[in-house]
């Protein structure tokens, strides 16, 4: 496979030594800037909320992570549909990368929500609609990653994952509705997961800068994860090529003896 001809071709542009590029470095820097602003305003500058007190500072983390998670799951769903249509590695890798990032952000969201509950209600968990929905959806997408982790032919694995990605995403609004109705019987609306319109200027600024930071970090992670996934595929192709090569070398004398 690898000959001197391909080597000479590759020397023209320098091959990257990692998943970074100029684009991701710029994006990362902007994300970092927003993160610094979010820390400054969210933790230090903005005043406590009239109703929520200082617990609003947990909401500054909770809302961006949940938004980033939903963005990631949306990307997974679109990629799943596109994969079944176009059947290209790009959509498969994008979808699975986004699912992994979505699970990460959802897990963080739930921990943040539980900590908010500890302060507000005195217990980590109440069957608050948003938290309950998140828990169900988190486990649903852990299932996606579990199937993804099963070694299989890339095309087979991609199809399986695309199907799960589509089946899972249409459940999101249904779970929302069911949990809302269910909890609606027992308690009123809660603040978790919504942006209160009565927030003051610096509070809104803290919230929106955290939100922008969350989205940017999500996209930045997605690019890196996509590239790492692409490299992993090439590495496993390589392993397969090598194994085939070895098998051929092993079996060729035996074949010769047979014939």
């Amino acid at each position: 496979m690898t000959t001197t001809k391909t080597e000479s071709l590759s020397t023209v542009p320098a091959a990257p030594t990692g998943t970074g590029s100029r684009g991701t470095r710029v994006l990362g820097a902007v994300a970092l800037l927003f993160l610094v602003i979010a820390v400054a305003y969210g933790l230090l500058i903005s005043p406590p909320d009239a109703q929520l007190g200082n617990t609003i500072r947990i909401i500054y983390m909770h809302v961006p992570t949940v938004m980033a998670a939903y963005l990631a799951f949306l990307i997974t769903a679109v990629s799943s549909g596109m994969y079944l249509w176009k059947r290209t590695e790009f959509w498969d890798l994008l979808g699975s990368s986004a699912a992994e990032i979505g699970v990460l952000f959802f897990a963080v969201t739930i921990v943040d929500g539980a900590l908010w509950g500890k302060v507000t209600w005195g217990v980590f968990w109440r069957w608050e609609p948003r938290l309950t929905t998140s828990a169900v959806l988190l486990i649903m997408y852990i299932g996606y990653l579990a199937v993804r982790a099963i070694p299989a032919d890339p095309k087979t694995r991609a199809t399986r994952c695309a199907i799960i990605g589509l089946v899972a995403v249409v459940n999101i609004p249904i779970v929302h509705k069911a949990v809302d109705w269910w909890r609606g019987l027992h308690q009123g609306k809660t603040v978790l997961g919504t942006i209160d319109p009565e927030m003051g200027g610096t509070q809104l600024f803290a919230m929106y800068s955290a939100l922008v930071a969350g989205i940017l970090v999500c996209v930045w992670l997605l690019i890196h994860r996509f590239r790492a996934g692409f490299l992993a595929e090439r590495a496993s192709d390589l392993g397969l090529d090598q194994a085939l090569e070895e098998r051929r070398l092993e079996s060729s004398p035996a074949q010769g003896a047979d014939s």
Binding site: E7, A15, T19, W116, V119, V217, H224, F226
Partner: protein, 49 residues
């Protein structure tokens, strides 16, 4: 009162630490994985479409 505000402070700091810690650790693992894989994959295949 001081116990309650103690819990509050701990939970707020905890939430921010968990968020930054988890996302940071994941980012580091992805970037390190990318670097490790880049050493294995031949340069002409190190192109992401």
């Amino acid at each position: 009162m001081s116990g309650a505000s103690m819990t509050e402070t701990l939970c707020i700091i905890g939430a921010w630490l968990v968020t930054f810690g988890a996302v940071g650790a994941y980012a580091a693992s992805v970037i390190l994985r990318g670097r490790r894989l880049s050493k294995i994959v031949p340069p002409e295949q190190r192109r992401w479409m």
